[in-house]
């Protein structure tokens, strides 16, 4: 394991939800909203909502999918929206383009539904982010484990999920530091594969901690093999 040049700094994050001026009562209006709303709005209804609904591990993916299902009664569209995996995106522009494409394709295939009124309107909101250091840093795997175990859900989501947009890579803050600073590429990759759609934030964190513990045991063994074989 390498000695890191820079420690891992844990941040905490809090969001205000700002209510926008746009809303949609049918699919055509939803498309117009998707095309025109701010990046902070796309972020809110995809990345942020997954964090605040992380405990729903069966069929909840983003607000657009939920609205298409529950309010517009369009199961097939909901499925298409839900299939967009935010881990595939490192920019909001690319995510917005795919959301619009999915909706446009649906409207083209089923024009009869495009003006059908939904039970309730979709209200576009934005996330307003406030971040600050958590007064917690890690310079080795033990400290890293302690930090991951101690932070809030929001902080975990910030480092594990939304970090893609900051890093512009298909990875997360944890994996990036483990690979770049400690040289633990395999651990970094395995952590990056933890599925945030089928795990809650708690179970994703528990999986990550188990992987880190396994790595720590490996290093304990490597640094003191005699002790291990003497057992």
């Amino acid at each position: 394991m390498n000695v890191p040049e820079a420690p891992f700094e844990f941040f905490t994050v809090a969001y205000l939800t700002r209510i926008g001026n746009q809303s949609a009562g049918n699919l055509e209006e939803l498309l117009a909203g998707l095309e025109q709303c701010s990046d902070a709005s796309i972020f809110h209804h995809t990345f942020q909502t997954l964090g605040s609904h992380h405990f729903l591990t069966e069929g909840f993916s983003n607000d657009f999918a939920q609205w298409a299902l529950a309010e517009a009664n369009r199961d097939a569209l909901a499925e298409q929206f839900a299939a967009l995996d935010i881990r595939d995106y490192t920019s909001i522009a690319a995510l917005r383009a795919d959301l619009c494409r999915v909706l446009r394709d649906f409207i083209t295939a089923f024009p009869q539904f495009s003006h059908q009124e939904a039970l309730d309107r979709f209200y576009f909101c934005e996330s307003v982010e406030e971040t600050m250091p958590f007064s917690l840093t890690a310079t080795n795997l033990d400290e890293f484990r302690h930090g991951v175990a101690s932070i809030s859900h929001a902080s975990f989501h910030f480092h594990f999920v939304t970090s893609r947009l900051r890093l512009q890579f298909r990875t997360n803050d944890f994996s990036r530091w483990l690979a770049a600073s400690l040289g633990l590429n395999s651990l970094a990759e395995t952590i990056n594969r933890i599925d945030i759609y089928t795990n809650t934030l708690d179970s994703a964190r528990a999986k990550m901690l188990r992987l880190v513990d396994r790595e720590r045991r490996k290093y304990e063994h490597d640094s003191n093999p005699a002790q291990d074989s003497a057992r």
């Binding site: 809090a14 405990f55 101690s150 902080s155």
Partner: protein, 409 residues
């Protein structure tokens, strides 16, 4: 004017057992830059109602985090509260005949209170329409004024909203409980969910013997399914609609209905609505209409915990925190898709939504037939409340707002 004496505080660290130590540490981190800075919350009542209940818990927690926070209640005569009650109903869409006299009374009491209330805190949070006129007396110290509107403004009476528009745009921001309630305003509008306190008497764990005791006291059979709606006796809560839904369910299930709440003894309209519910019940011994004194938090807690299904069949609703209370107790909830309820009940994930008496009855029958699904909805509902509708989340939102506003000055 009176500064409210806050009830005994619950230390913030006690919440670690509910939300986790990381969440509490996060609150402390966010509050650090706000230590010693002043906040004044102003509303119109110290007891009763959801706003007072939230402030009772929020203020001591903010104080513990080092914020110099005060809660003030505006005063007014009967004439003022009659006017603001009609405003309240009109803003919820009820019929109203505006009279100039009403607006004059509103303005006069706001002026009177402005002379007595401290309006110079760095962050002034004004709750609901009653004290909204205080913004006219904003000083020149550059402090931040936020209007926190707890009521459903989606279909307001035009004359009352037009009157409030004299004030609201002069705030620095407005907060609503649902995006549906927001208006076209030139100021930023934020979404804050109201919240419950998991450690309050109404929500904390209670011994099963106490629950059985409460059921026995009210003649409720714990061996048969219990359907419960907790709410004021108010037409907007549609108690008669609940009884009609229960009658449909009764054709299929031997169950009981409990309608419990306050508001009948000190509110003439409440007494009328209770009478209407009694007439609709037609002496059915399995319908219990309970008028609880001062909301009797432990009794409400026991009734919710004893329930097989909790109903909230409101016709209009601000947020409907009784839904979160029930979900916190892992109860399956069937509720109307109005106001802030769909935020709490994500249909088929954390409960079931309905749009009519028949729909409500159908969803109840479905859950009585599928207790496994009911259990799953209740469990996910509990998680939803834990993540989004606890007082600690509400506190976090206020801290974030203060940090944002503080940066903008």
């Amino acid at each position: 004017m009176s500064t409210i004496q806050i009830p005994p505080r619950i230390p913030l660290d006690d919440y670690s057992s509910v939300i986790g130590a990381g969440e509490v540490a996060e609150l402390r981190t966010l509050a650090k830059p706000l230590a010693g800075r002043s906040v004044v919350m102003i509303n119109s009542t110290a007891v009763g109602g959801g706003v007072a209940e939230i402030l009772n818990r929020l203020v001591p927690l903010a104080e513990e985090l080092g914020i110099n926070i005060r809660w003030e209640v505006m005063t007014g005569g009967e004439d003022f509260f009659e006017v603001t009650k009609s405003f309240h109903n009109a803003l919820h869409g009820a019929p109203y005949h505006p009279e100039q006299r009403h607006f004059d009374i509103f303005r006069a009491y706001n002026e009177k209170n402005a002379k007595r209330l401290p309006l110079d805190a760095e962050f002034m949070i004004i709750h609901d329409p009653q004290p909204s006129g205080l913004i006219s007396y904003r000083g020149g110290n550059g402090n931040h004024w936020v209007w926190r509107c707890h009521i459903d403004l989606s279909h307001p009476h035009p004359a009352v909203w037009k009157f409030l528009e004299n004030y609201v745009p002069h705030y620095d921001a407005a907060i609503f409980s649902s995006p549906e309630f927001a208006k076209q305003l030139p100021i930023p509008q934020y979404l804050f969910h109201p919240a419950i306190d998991p450690l309050s008497e109404k929500n904390r764990d209670i011994p099963p013997e106490f629950i059985l005791d409460v059921l026995a006291r009210y003649g409720i059979d714990h061996l048969r399914p219990i359907l419960t709606q907790i709410s004021r006796f108010d037409r907007l809560k549609d108690p008669v609609g609940v009884i009609r839904a229960y009658r449909i369910v009764r054709r299929y299930f031997d169950c009981q209905l409990v309608l419990a709440g306050g508001g009948a003894s000190d509110d003439p309209e409440g007494a009328t609505v209770l009478k209407e519910a009694q007439n609709a019940a037609e002496g059915d011994p399995d319908i219990k209409l309970l008028e609880l004194p001062q909301w009797a938090p432990l009794e409400v807690n026991a009734l919710q915990r004893a329930s097989t299904i909790v109903i909230q069949k409101s016709l209009r609703e601000g947020f409907g925190l009784t839904v979160s209370e029930a979900l916190w107790k892992r109860k399956p909830v069937v509720a109307s898709a109005v106001g802030g309820i769909p935020t709490q009940i994500i249909h088929k994930h954390t409960g079931l939504l309905a749009h009519s008496v028949e729909g409500t009855a159908y969803q109840i029958r479905f859950l009585l037939s599928h207790p496994d699904i009911a259990g799953r909805l209740g469990e996910r509902g509990h998680q939803h409340v834990k993540e989004n509708f606890l007082i600690t989340q509400n506190l976090k939102r206020y801290l974030t707002l203060f940090l944002k506003l503080g940066k903008s000055s």
